[in-house]
């Protein structure tokens, strides 16, 4: 009976919704995390009689007869709105205010992208992420440097022992995409470019279309807990309602088969 399968698609959809909500809530304090919002669409319809088709007496049917098959997952979009800035005071923490991603080099040589600006220094003094992936273009900080300053346009300067004037150590560039929602999540707060996202376009922070940097701040996740909790309650109720339909179909089938 079709209604049984239709209701099953409904339950599956709500389950997926809960999964996405659970992931969002689990990552509510992950810096640079972008919330996931699943999008659903109704499944194809079987047309028993098309609207406008002629009936037996040659009159056009004002409404047709179409049977729906339920719902399916259309997409799981990531909402790339700005998360709140959290002040940490740490000189290697950076947040991007506006559009753009930090570029990092994975162990495989591929370039990945991230909004998580909590950087460290590796043993050669290069700026790396917490996972140890190198920031591109690479910036190396000498051992005897102090007063490391990263300006909002990405220029890195520090004072080397012995000199009084700050020395330029490099320029951080960020990348932007035509369709950030099309980036593939790699985990560890990193994303990879795909066909759907388009190619990365690099630029200097603060330029038109690129966000600026803030040293001493981290971008928190853009998950709104109240919103997620409300969605969770709605998903739970919708799940129950669909299971009620399965119950009704089952009872009707049972009734019919006991004729």
């Amino acid at each position: 009976m079709r209604a049984l399968f239709t209701a099953a698609t409904g339950m599956e959809a709500q389950q997926t919704r809960i999964d996405a909500i659970a992931n969002n809530l689990a990552n509510v304090s992950t810096s640079g995390y972008k919330k996931q919002v699943p999008g659903f669409e109704d499944l194809f319809y079987e047309t028993l009689a098309a609207p406008g088709a002629l009936n037996d007496s040659g009159v056009a049917l004002p409404t047709g007869a179409q049977v729906g098959h339920g719902v399916r997952l259309g997409s799981v979009g990531r909402v790339h709105t700005q998360g709140d800035r959290v002040s940490t005071g740490r000189e290697l923490d950076l947040s991007i205010d506006g559009n753009g991603y930090f570029q990092v080099e994975l162990a495989t040589g591929e370039t990945a992208f991230t909004r998580d600006g909590a950087f460290e220094l590796d043993r050669d003094g290069n700026l790396v992420t917490r996972q140890g992936t190198l920031l591109l273009p690479s910036v190396s900080v000498p051992v005897d440097a102090s007063g490391l300053t990263i300006r909002d346009d990405g220029t890195v300067t520090a004072v080397i022992a012995g000199d009084s004037a700050p020395v330029s150590l490099g320029q951080i560039e960020i990348a932007r995409f035509a369709n950030p929602a099309g980036l593939r999540a790699l985990g560890s707060n990193m994303f990879a470019a795909t066909e759907a996202s388009g190619d990365a376009e690099t630029g200097v922070p603060g330029d038109e279309g690129f966000g600026s940097l803030s040293q001493g701040f981290l971008e928190s996740s853009n998950v709104n807990m109240a919103e997620e909790l409300v969605r969770m309650i709605l998903a739970q109720r919708a799940f129950e309602v669909n299971s009620r339909v399965i119950q009704a179909s089952d009872e009707m089938l049972q009734r019919a088969s006991s004729l």
Partner: protein, 242 residues
């Protein structure tokens, strides 16, 4: 007696049809831009076996069923995404698909790799002069349908379309509606959108649940009538064959 069997059978089938529609509505109770369907039934009179003049009762079947879509707006769901918008009032977004132009209320849009404004399925959203190219710059939808960049520059404008008779639309699935070729499309002059969220499903869960209970009972009643008919026939045959 045989005819009344078929009448009860038709009644039971009609309830099953209603169940399918109710199940589809409830499965899509949170699908963006979904519009609930209602089953419609028409009476089908059958000529009495003895001819009209004898005055014997006519049998009334539940015949030719269809469904109509309820076209009232669903609740607004805030998402915060800059390219999401819900339509205030009537009208549909126009999208270009592989099978011609389609219409939707689901306003969750993205930018594809070529900079075109598209639906999550990749169908281009149409403006006054066809697909809208926004390019790689971050853009937002305004409440009048304009797409603006970060500096406020206008990058394009979404167009909305209204139908004189919304009941002519049929559902294609994937949140899309189709219109027959002769349908009267009226472009909407004053576009009113609510950006930053999408229109939810207009399914009234309580109503559908009540419908579910009612149709289940009606189904039981038809089956009971069938059983009564069946046992009466059986009794009759047993009597006659004695």
């Amino acid at each position: 007696m045989t005819t009344s069997l078929y009448v009860s059978g038709a009644g039971a089938s009609a309830r099953l049809r209603e169940l399918e529609i109710t199940a589809n509505n409830l499965a899509n109770a949170s699908t963006e831009g979904y519009r609930a369907d209602t089953a419609t039934f028409r009476e089908a009179l059958s000529a009495s076996l003895a001819g009209d003049r004898s005055g014997a009762p006519l049998h009334v079947f539940t015949g030719t069923s269809g469904q109509s879509t309820r076209h009232h707006s669903g609740a607004f769901q805030k998402t915060g995404a800059p390219l999401d918008a819900a339509i205030d009032g009537e009208g549909f977004f126009e999208v270009q698909t592989g099978q011609g132009t389609a219409y939707t209320r689901s306003g969750s849009f993205r930018v594809d790799r070529n900079g075109l404004l598209v639906t999550p399925d990749g169908n281009a959203v149409l403006g006054e002069s066809g697909p809208i190219a926004i390019g790689p710059v971050p853009a937002k939808i305004q409440s009048d349908g304009r797409l603006v960049g970060e500096d406020g520059a206008e990058l394009g404008r979404i167009s909305l379309v209204r139908f004189e008779d919304a009941s002519e639309l049929s559902k294609r699935g994937a949140n899309l509606f189709e219109a027959p070729a002769l349908a009267r499309r009226i472009p909407v002059e004053q576009i009113q959108l609510t950006p930053g969220g999408v229109e939810g499903s207009n399914v009234e869960t309580m109503k559908e649940l009540a419908q579910l209970v009612s149709l289940q009972r009606a189904f039981d009643a038809s089956i009971q009538a069938l059983e009564a008919d069946d046992s009466a026939s059986r009794n009759l045959f047993e009597e006659v064959s004695r």
